[in-house]
């Protein structure tokens, strides 16, 4: 890069005029409110939110038949039962596989599609964006039979691949829109500068744009993971082998037509919730940034 050197001596700086006193910054109204006015409503809200979780924990940890309001004496028998007898160990592995594969595929394809939407103009771009948005209005249940027929034709019924593809396809529209908005926020001149320095488009994207997309990628990836982790319908319909089923389908089988083992159901619920809670605990900062930044432009 060429820089222009100074050829003349710089004039001596004039003595700085005293700065006028700044008006005192007004504290926002919420900051002046007594603390209890903030913490009390939040505390009440938290109690309402946490009571159902406590209830699940209570049923999962106390022995069957106990009516105690504290999980004591504590038992892990319900967890052992669902993990081994009710095959939740296998369901968990399958759900992890489906979740991670959906996350990877959704992120990769959304990245490519989002880049194209952000950086290129093409004739049917607006119609394409509209179609992406409209695809969100179609419930998965409506497409079950056609999807089932397609996967049957491809010999993919009873394969986790069918669920991964279906989940990815349903995640893509929103993910692509989010990623494209993120990429639009990255100044185009940064890429151009990288090209001038000798990068091709792919390298410029990888070196300059990709690191700036981290919040967006985390938001899209985690959303894809959590959605596929919790999604029930495709796994129920496309998987026939007990060894290939996922956690939501397994949870559903804990309630029979006229009998329900509440301890096992609660233990299964905790097993299903823990990965989602962990994912959110780690990524919540990025998730909020990701969704708010990605939602700025349409």
């Amino acid at each position: 890069m060429i820089t222009k050197e100074a050829t003349a001596a710089a004039p001596a700086p004039a003595p700085a005029a005293p700065e006028p006193p700044r008006p005192a910054k007004k504290r926002p109204a919420w900051d002046e409110a007594p603390r209890w006015q903030i913490y009390l409503p939040l505390g009440i809200y938290l109690v309402f939110t946490l009571i159902p979780f406590y209830w699940i924990l209570l049923f999962a940890l106390r022995p069957a038949g106990s009516t105690s309001l504290v999980p004591w004496p504590m038992t892990t028998v319900h967890f052992e039962k669902v993990w081994t007898d009710r095959s939740f160990g296998t369901f968990f592995q399958n759900s992890v596989l489906v979740g991670v594969a959906t996350l990877i595929m959704t992120t990769l394809v959304a990245l490519a599609g989002g880049y194209a939407l952000a950086r290129f103009d093409f004739k049917v771009k607006r119609a394409f964006m509209l179609a992406l948005l409209c695809s969100q209005f179609v419930p998965g249940a409506l497409l079950l039979v056609p999807l089932f027929e397609i996967f049957a034709e491809l010999q993919m019924i009873n394969s986790l691949g069918s669920v991964i593809i279906a989940e990815t396809v349903f995640q893509l529209p929103l993910s692509m829109i989010l990623i494209s908005n993120f990429i639009k926020n990255v100044p185009y001149s940064l890429e151009e500068a990288a090209w001038v320095d000798g990068c091709n488009r792919m390298r410029a994207f990888r070196v300059v744009v990709l690191p700036l997309l981290r919040p967006g990628l985390i938001a899209v990836g985690s959303f894809a993971f959590v959605h596929s982790w919790n999604h029930f319908l495709f796994a129920l319909m496309f998987l026939n082998n007990q060894e290939k089923q996922t956690i939501p389908v397994g949870l559903n089988t804990l309630m029979s037509a006229d009998s329900v083992d509440l301890g096992a159901l609660a233990a299964g619920g905790i097993i299903a919730a823990v990965p989602v809670v962990i994912v959110f605990a780690f990524i919540q900062k990025w998730l909020i940034t990701g969704f708010s930044a990605g939602a700025v432009k349409g």
């Binding site: 069957a64 038949g65 009516t67 007898d85 009710r86 596989l97 594969a101 990877i104 595929m105 990769l108 950086r119 290129f120 103009d121 093409f122 079950l144 039979v145 089932f148 027929e149 049957a152 491809l154 010999q155 993919m156 019924i157 009873n158 394969s159 986790l160 691949g161 069918s162 991964i164 593809i165 185009y188 151009e192 090209w195 990068c199 091709n200 488009r201 792919m202 390298r203 990888r206 129920l236 319909m237 026939n240 082998n241 007990q242 290939k244 389908v249 559903n252 089988t253 804990l254 309630m255 029979s256 037509a257 006229d258 009998s259 329900v260 083992d261 509440l262």
Partner: protein, 452 residues
């Protein structure tokens, strides 16, 4: 297009892209190796060997017992391998319907009377009369259960499902609370109402009864109505008009719905069986109407000595009237390419030994006559009382029209919200029953027309 620079990709970049693409393809290929389990032959008898797939219509709680029966079967038939798939009862119908439309039905499936009409109407099931006639099971299964399944099967007088068990409505009551309050056993409707009132102490969060206001409320309300009115047939003598809105039934429903909030928790408005059973098992509620299926849950929660499960109370003149509970059974799907092996499995699963084992675990009334004489029945009091009530002539059963393809829609989605209105007092019992009757009469007329 804004700009496009065609440069050379670096070798590293190409390798990364290729690795990602290859990884994705391999991952999908690896997960796509499964057998589709369709059994998609064209109804062939097969060799009587090889693999068959069995879909359990009440998977989960019964998975263990089915796995035991399958293990016994595979031991006795080493050439046949049964693949078990447990499906939650709430999702079974939609899964089978999707498989009927898209392909991929199993060889054998659990088929209860309540869903038989729909599957038979779609031509998904193989008639079993001939196979049963030639089988060692012939004459060994409960005739009433066979007739119930035959009647539910779609009007062609064919049997599409071999019965495994019958369920029955049970009135569970807390013996400890009754003793404490000095109340007599609720064997009549009058005693039932008296106990419901006396056991209620809202301030102390104690209630006499828990009513089912959410999913599944209609069957329970019908049971209470017919039980009190003493009407023993769902249709009048012409067979074209239902008796649900008979003035006696209207009066009975008014009285029954009047229990809501008076002697029941207000939350009962949204009670499905799970919530209803859970609050009965963990609270202080005097009585609960459910079926035999939840007996083991109550034993686990309360212990066998703190409650009893008896048949529904008797009505006027000491007569007991109950509505029918759907008989459960096993059917053979038409698309099976290994029907011989599939039938062997059905025969084995409904044999005396397997049927006894299954029903002991489920707490239901066995379909096999020899299994019904087994020792365990005497020990499971509600099952014994239900079996006696169903066979000793003391009880009249009102057969619900499971054969109507619209029955499930009418008795669930369309009328459960209206029943909630009745409980809340926003709709009168007469208005509700007149509406229900109109829908039923229409469905019956359509049915008659289709059947010629």
């Amino acid at each position: 297009m804004k700009i496009s620079i065609l440069g050379n990709s670096t070798g590293r970049g190409r390798r990364t892209s290729a690795a990602v693409a290859l990884g994705a393809v391999l991952a999908l290929t690896a997960t796509a190796c499964g057998d589709d389990g369709s059994g998609a032959g064209d109804g062939a008898e097969g060799s009587g060997k090889g693999e068959i797939i069995f879909w359990d219509n009440n998977g989960g709680v019964r998975t263990e017992i089915w796995k035991q029966i399958i293990a016994d079967f595979e031991k006795a038939n080493p050439d046949i391998d049964v693949q078990y798939v447990g499906i939650a009862s709430t999702e079974y119908q939609s899964k089978v319907d999707t498989a009927i439309q898209g392909g991929g039905l199993p060889d054998v499936g659990g088929i209860s009377a309540s869903m038989l009409a729909g599957f038979a109407a779609q031509g998904a099931l193989d008639p079993l009369d001939d196979r049963l006639g030639e089988s060692s099971l012939s004459g060994k299964l409960n005739k009433d259960m066979i007739e119930s399944l035959r009647a539910a099967g779609g009007g062609d007088d064919k049997l599409y499902s071999v019965p495994t068990s019958a369920n029955n409505g049970v009135l569970y009551y807390r013996t400890d609370l009754f003793e404490k309050a000095g109340l007599e056993e609720p064997t009549t409707w009058d005693r039932f109402y008296e106990a419901a009132e006396k056991l209620t102490d809202k301030g102390a969060n104690k209630f006499g009864y828990t009513i089912r206001g959410g999913a599944g409320s209609i069957a329970q309300a019908l049971d209470a109505m017919y039980g009190q009115s003493g009407i023993t047939s769902f249709w009048d003598s012409t067979g074209k008009k239902t008796t649900v809105n008979d003035p006696k039934n209207v009066e009975a429903l008014e009285k029954y719905a009047g229990l809501f909030k008076k002697v029941t928790p207000a939350a009962d408005l949204n009670n499905d069986f799970t919530k209803m059973v859970a609050q009965w098992d963990s609270g202080e509620i005097g009585m609960l109407n459910h079926n035999l299926g939840s007996y083991q849950d109550h034993v686990k929660a309360l212990g066998a000595d703190r409650f009893r499960g008896i048949p529904q109370p008797t009505g006027p003149g000491g007569k007991r009237v109950q509505v029918s509970n759907p008989v459960d059974g096993i059917g053979l799907f038409k698309t099976s390419k290994n029907k011989e092996a599939a039938w062997k499995f059905i025969e084995f699963a409904t044999s005396a030994q397997s049927n006894s084992k299954f029903n002991e675990s489920a707490g239901q009334v066995p379909a096999h006559l020899d299994a019904a004489k087994d020792e365990w029945i005497g020990k499971a009091e509600p099952t014994k009382l239900a079996a006696d009530a169903l066979s000793d002539g003391s009880t009249s059963i009102v057969q619900l029209p499971y054969y109507l393809p619209d029955w499930n829609t009418i008795s669930k989605a369309e009328n459960e919200p209206n029943f909630q209105k009745v409980l809340l007092g926003d709709m009168s019992a007469k208005e509700f029953l007149d509406g229900l009757a109109e829908q039923l009469n229409e469905a019956q007329a359509e049915w008659d027309e289709q059947m010629g």
